[in-house]
């Protein structure tokens, strides 16, 4: 063996060990959620997302073709089903109009405020969860369009998740089915508050319900608005199973067919700390030379 070969082998082994150590430390640095690491992650997503989009074109094409064949085969049955559904929706529309008018009258009587100043922006889901360890999706919209961390993401069926990372042209959404997602909810019929917990599976666990609460199978679970990040009244799912100590909820949105989503921007909710300065909340006492050491304002605001 030549001396240069020995050196090469030594260098290779060193690189091997070095990269394993680097990779291992990345796991812990990633969990520490450092800002620079998060920026780097989103930067690389911004770079790689258009490539995935390009690579996914034939994959989406095959999917569309298969769906097309299936649709043509069931066209007649689909037509009959849609007619029946249309009749049902017309009846629901009339009912909704009556309820809306009643709701407005009640609001004017009680003076309740409705928060409707959120603007939906449509985006395409570029990826879907490919593994069991994280349920997140990349969407084709970013800070260029005013997306910020904490914006809710929905479809016409209900809540999909919350924006967790924002890049220039792409953002990452944490889905409600992810193991790290906790959504404050209420039961639609009884208004008991609880929390849905993602399990990285097709169901969510409904936890922290009061003992008196008796959720019925099929009961709708809505966002409560507690915590101020999500608006109240978004459909999260329906109660699927009630076991001895666990309640399982099926998400309202079928995540397997996630094509387009709406991001709700603006509104009074959301994580907006741009105007959060200490001066707005804290007014220091005027400095006087003859003040006593324990002097201050009492609860009613008078000097004591």
């Amino acid at each position: 063996m030549r001396p240069s070969d020995k050196t090469k082998i030594k260098q290779r082994r060193l690189a091997h060990v070095g990269l394993i150590v680097l990779s291992f430390s990345l796991m812990f640095l990633g969990k520490a959620d450092l800002v620079s690491l998060r920026d780097g992650r989103m930067g690389s997503n911004d770079f790689l997302a258009p490539v995935i989009d390009f690579v996914s074109v034939p994959i989406r094409g095959i999917q569309t073709m298969a769906e097309g064949i299936r649709t043509v085969a069931s066209l007649r049955a689909e037509n009959v089903r849609l007619k029946a559904e249309n009749d049902l929706l017309k009846r629901w529309r009339r009912r909704a109009e009556i309820l809306e008018s009643e709701n407005q009258q009640l609001r004017s009587v009680t003076g309740a405020v409705s928060y409707e100043n959120r603007k939906p922006i449509t985006a395409r889901a570029v990826t879907a969860p490919g593994g069991s360890f994280a349920h997140t999706v990349l969407i084709s919209i970013g800070s260029e369009k005013g997306i910020v961390q904490g914006n809710p993401v929905i479809t016409s069926d209900g809540l999909v998740g919350i924006v967790i990372d924002v890049g220039r042209a792409y953002a990452r959404v944490l889905m409600i089915s992810d193991i790290n997602a906790r959504i404050p909810v209420i039961l639609s019929s009884s208004s008991w508050p609880g929390l849905t917990i993602g399990k990285n599976s097709e169901f969510l666990e409904l936890a922290f319900l009061p003992a008196e609460a008796k959720p019925a199978i099929g009961e709708l679970v809505l966002t409560s608005g507690h915590g101020g990040v999500l608006p109240a009244g978004l459909a999260v799912g329906r109660v699927e199973r009630v076991e001895d100590d666990r309640i399982w909820v099926r998400p309202a949105v079928d995540f397997r067919h996630l094509g387009y989503v709406s991001v709700l921007i603006g509104g009074i909710e959301g994580i907006d700390n741009s105007n959060l300065s200490l001066g707005d909340f804290f007014t220091p006492l005027p400095v006087e030379d003859d003040t006593r050491l324990l002097e201050g304002l009492n609860a009613s605001g008078t000097r004591q």
Binding site: H16, L22, S25, V55, S56, R60, G130, S132
Partner: protein, 179 residues
Amino acid sequence: MRDQRSYFEKAEFQSDLPLQFLVLTVGVILVLVEVGLAQWPFFYSASPILSLIFMYFMMIYHDHLMPIITVFIMGLVADLLLSDILGGRATAFMLLSFVMRLSAVRLQQSEFLDLWVYFSVSCGAVVLFQLIVFSLINLAVPALNPLLFQVGFTLILFPIGFVVMFSTKRLLEAIRLIG
């Protein structure tokens, strides 16, 4: 006095670098295909690990074309795009490549069935490593059904992938001979 023998040794006219770069490109594209496949409802949250089949084949027959940095980049790109624990798959891939380098000669002489069994163990080990790291860091266990489906489907795809790669290898060798 400084040893100058290495300066007069045979120069490397046939560098592996362009081929190594090509292998890296193919590896990253396979990772992207993996991410793209997840858009099919059938593979939702359980996309088959195509990059592992490719890495396994390359480590047995052309390990000089797959340096450790290639394995690291493939794993890291998968971690970034799938939003998994950063470095989780990269570490698992690198540890596997380390073990495979030790047993590459024996595997080259093995029959296909043995290779398949060894791949099953490797695939299971990679996913188990990720599962353990995930559970330790998040103090929670994810749903195991999608994981089993992912491993199972990867194992089913292994013979197809192996045949495709073997045919490509033969084709490239034939082209080289003609050239």
